[in-house]
């Protein structure tokens, strides 16, 4: 089996073969001293996302080699400098001084084969990158990357258990409690197995929500991507921080009860831990180094840990876990062509032993393997599952969304319009065996990073059992969750990728020029890769049959590169330029409510900043949502009218939850940075919105003690 290190070396060779060593004849417009200083600055500010060997990962492109030269070869060194100066570091764009950006530019040029010259780079060099660099990565940079050694944002972070807990009378979480959660608890990522993100509490209601006040807050780890939601059981809040730190807090007071810093330290954007799970007497978390942990809920000690996948090959975890029928079920991400392909797996909740595994990329000769055209197995990439699934206890089925295949664009991927199973599907898997019950392909041949990976909401309409989901294209889907049959769909934001849909099957038809796409040619797509909808989850208010959806409005032009076959390391391999969505007056945020019985849009509103939290609705006819501009608000569920707002210290990002302790209802929400495209798009496009580059925290609100 090919190791990640070997594949990097192969990639480097492929780079050399792709780029004719047109020996650069021009000295680089920078000095040796700048390149040396730049290497250190790169390690401190960039390597966490782009890797020590500049190979990139996830949405973070490679900064050396063929991919870099394809993007930047024809552009000037100045343009590259202007780009990184205005967009990087991620979440802290423009925060470094000019000299540091110049040094980093110099280093990246040397990493692509450029040689230093006598004149220092001052940001103004108009020479083309290809005139000084050829994409040949020096050996000392191209060597296989150890796990990123960039300095953590939390300097001096001590790993391991820093506080051992001693929680008395902890009530184990039973299967019955997960099937019928107590509204005083918030036991599951999105409230219940069906992903309603709804609280049955109603002490806080549309009449008194204006009186909400902060009860306590708790600073969380800095660094990485904070996009989590607390889990609460019996007055204890379990909280996943970045850097794989798990904490138990007294949910009423915010007092720390235990803390275990599992590590590794967050050094890259893909370090979000969107949720954790509780079951029996344990807390479960999938750490970013693709390990699954079970911690003792009373003490925080590690009970068992198991490897989901080999993180040295680049695998990662971000999406949280679900515990169902005694099994911890988890996805996998950053599947970039390394072997094995991406998969969903399940582990015995008591022992950590793997019970089953379902591969989300079909190989040749397997069912679905003929849906990749001529793409060889080792170039079939993507199919990540970075949002935890849902579960129907009656059918014993777990429902998962699968992300897109990679490279993003059909022309790069060379798969034509083929479905590339099981990318962009809903999978229905037997939770005991992992056996595929059915799948539905939402977007065969998807080509703009508009994947269909998000929460699968299980809604019953009388005797009809449905599963609903909304993907990045902004299409709200309704399927029969017993059979997978298409039932209905509704567009929720403007989109121009599909020219039509067969309303009997849900089959989408691409715009003609999308089908005719070629590499190295710009093509428009609305919504952008931030999605019409992205990871911030929907909420379903059953009493009103309303699904409230946080939506994003932006567009992009995309360009796909030629991707060498058989490198075994497949990146998104493309470029992107963003623009405001037509007809939105520059408003990137939209919140909309749909009646799920007939898919009727009931209300909607727009605002400048996009929403970066899921929605929480409650039996008090109020719903909560937060945004990029630091506003956390309560709205009237049935009308969308804003009833209360609060301005928090930085971007409100994560999943709001509600719980009760000693008869008092609380609302909790996190603030955080990172968040992938939904965060990076507004940070680039909304120049008037300024957020501190720190401030990860959890905030807990409730009514005043004497309020009705």
């Amino acid at each position: 089996m090919r190791g990640f290190g070997l594949t990097v070396a192969v990639a480097a060779m492929a780079v050399a073969s792709l780029w004719i060593a047109s020996a650069q004849t021009t000295e680089g417009p920078f000095t040796e001293a700048q390149a040396t200083a730049g290497r250190a600055a790169y390690a401190a500010n960039c390597a966490g996302c782009h890797q020590a060997n500049l190979a990139g990962a996830g949405e973070q492109p490679a900064l050396a080699g063929a991919s870099f030269m394809a993007s930047w070869g024809k552009r000037s060194v100045k343009e590259f400098y202007d780009d990184i100066r205005s967009t990087m570091p991620y979440g802290r764009a423009g925060s470094l001084d000019a000299a540091t950006y110049q040094n980093i530019t110099a280093f990246i040029m040397t990493a692509n084969g450029a040689h230093a010259g006598a004149k220092p780079f001052d940001g103004g060099a108009g020479v083309k990158v290809s005139a000084i660099a050829n994409g040949q990565i020096p050996a000392d940079i191209a060597k296989p990357a150890p796990r990123a050694a960039a300095a953590p944002r939390a300097p001096g972070m001590k790993l391991g258990q820093t506080l051992v807990g001693n929680i008395k009378n902890y009530k184990p979480v039973s299967d019955a409690m997960l099937v019928h959660p107590d509204p005083n608890d918030w036991l599951i990522y999105r409230g219940n197995y069906q992903a309603f993100s709804h609280s049955g509490l109603k002490q806080i209601n549309e009449k008194n929500v204006g009186q909400l006040q902060l009860k306590w807050s708790w600073a969380m780890n800095e660094g990485g991507q904070n996009a989590t939601g607390p889990t609460i059981h019996d007055g204890i809040m379990f909280l996943a921080n970045t850097s794989n730190t798990v904490q138990a807090l007294d949910a009423k007071t915010g007092e720390l009860l235990w803390e275990n810093r599992l590590g590794p330290v967050a050094t890259r954007a893909y370090s979000a831990l969107r949720s954790l799970a509780v079951y029996e007497d344990k807390v479960y978390i999938n750490a970013t180094d693709a390990k699954l942990y079970a911690l003792d809920a009373r003490t925080g000690k590690v009970v068992w840990k198991t490897e989901i996948a080999d993180s040295t090959k680049g695998f990662n975890e971000t999406g949280g876990v679900i515990v169902a029928h005694g099994k911890v079920v988890v996805g996998l991400t950053l599947c970039r062509g390394q072997m094995p392909h991406c998969f969903i797996s399940a582990y015995d909740a008591r022992t950590g032993a793997r019970v089953w595994k379902f591969q989300t990329i079909a190989d040749k000769g397997e069912p679905g393997g003929d849906t990749w055209k001529d793409v060889p197995n080792d170039m079939r990439a993507g199919g990540e599952t970075w949002i935890a699934g849902t579960y129907d206890p009656d059918l014993n089925i777990t429902y998962w969304g699968v992300a897109q295949s990679k490279p993003w664009m059909q022309a790069s991927r060379r798969s034509g319009n083929a479905a590339t199973l099981y990318a962009n599907t809903t999978l229905a898997l037997d939770v005991d065996t992992g056996k595929l019950k059915w799948y539905y392909s939402h977007a065969p041949g998807e080509t703009f990073d508009l994947d269909e990976v998000f929460e699968r909401v299980l809604i019953d309409h009388g005797s009809q059992k449905t599963v609903m989901t909304i993907g990045k294209a902004g299409i709200l889907w309704k399927l029969d969750r017993v059979t997978g049959k298409f039932l209905d769909a509704k567009q929720t934001v403007f989109q121009n990728v599909y020219s039509g849909m067969d309303m009997k099957t849900g089959q989408l038809t691409f715009r003609p020029d999308v089908l005719a796409q070629r590499t190295n040619t710009w093509i428009s797509a609305c919504p952008s890769a931030a999605g019409g909808h992205d990871w911030p989850p929907t909420s379903y208010d059953k009493a009103n049959d309303l699904m409230i959806i946080p939506l994003d409005q932006s567009c992009n032009m995309m360009l796909g590169h030629d991707v060498a076959q058989h490198t075994g390391v497949v990146q998104p391999e493309g470029e992107e330029r963003v623009f405001f969505m037509p007809g939105t007056d520059g408003n990137m945020g939209r919140l909309a409510a749909y009646r799920t019985a007939d898919m009727k849009p009931v209300w909607s509103f727009q605002q400048r900043s996009p929403f970066l939290t899921g929605v929480l609705s409650t039996d008090g006819n109020v719903a909560f949502v937060g945004d990029y501009d630091r506003v956390f608000r309560a709205i009237q569920t049935t009308t969308g009218k804003t009833l209360w707002t609060v301005r928090l210290p930085t971007t409100v990002q994560g999943n709001p939850v509600s719980f009760a302790v000693d008869g008092k209802q609380y609302i909790a929400i996190t603030t955080g940075l990172g968040g992938g495209s939904p965060f990076s798009k507004p940070s680039s496009m909304l120049g008037e919105v300024h957020n501190p580059d720190h401030g990860h925290a959890v905030y807990v609100f409730a009514l005043p003690d004497q309020a009705n």
């Binding site: 552009r75 343009e79 590259f80 202007d82 780009d83 990184i84 100066r85 205005s86 967009t87 990087m88 509704k490 567009q491 929720t492 934001v493 403007f494 989109q495 121009n496 599909y498 020219s499 039509g500 849909m501 067969d502 309303m503 009997k504 089959q507 038809t509 715009r511 003609p512 020029d513 710009w522 428009s524 609305c526 567009c555 032009m557 470029e575 992107e576 330029r577 963003v578 623009f579 405001f580 037509p582 007809g583 007056d585 520059g586 939209r590 009727k600 849009p601 209300w603 909607s604 509103f605 727009q606 605002q607 608000r633 009308t639 969308g640 009218k641 804003t642 680039s684 496009m685 120049g687």
Partner: protein
Amino acid sequence: MAGMMRWPVLLAVLAASPVWAQTYASRLTAVAYDGAMRANVQGDGRATATLDGKTLTVTGTFADLPSPATSASLYSGTGIGIPGPAILELKLNGQTDGSLSGSFALNAKQLAALKLGHVYVQINSQKAPDGNLWGWLLPDHPFAGANVPVEGHGFLPQLDVPGNWTQK
């Protein structure tokens, strides 16, 4: 297949359609950009266009361009949000702040493109010769205000994607 229509059918449908919007409007914002381009495509503007029969009258303003404007035109692509070639040149007044205007007798193809939302205004400038600001001319509609809920979808410009999956 439901939802699949071709151009001749679309034109026939448009010809038989009930009253279409007579006033179109757009906010003018940065063309598609990346980090390297961002500094050169800043600015803001608005354009409105009134259709009287086949005569389209366009007016607009712009401000805060990073470099002087050099030209402005109506462009038309194959869909909303899809760039295409320039079709009609606008008169430009001003440099980094200014106005634009024009009055045109549209031919059948241009009229159809306008009604489908394919026509957009683009301003080019010295530092952004391939485009500084742009905005698609879509039926003018009131904006209720930030965070003010409206019934249903609100404005969702799916003008050229037929099929009930987009309807209210």
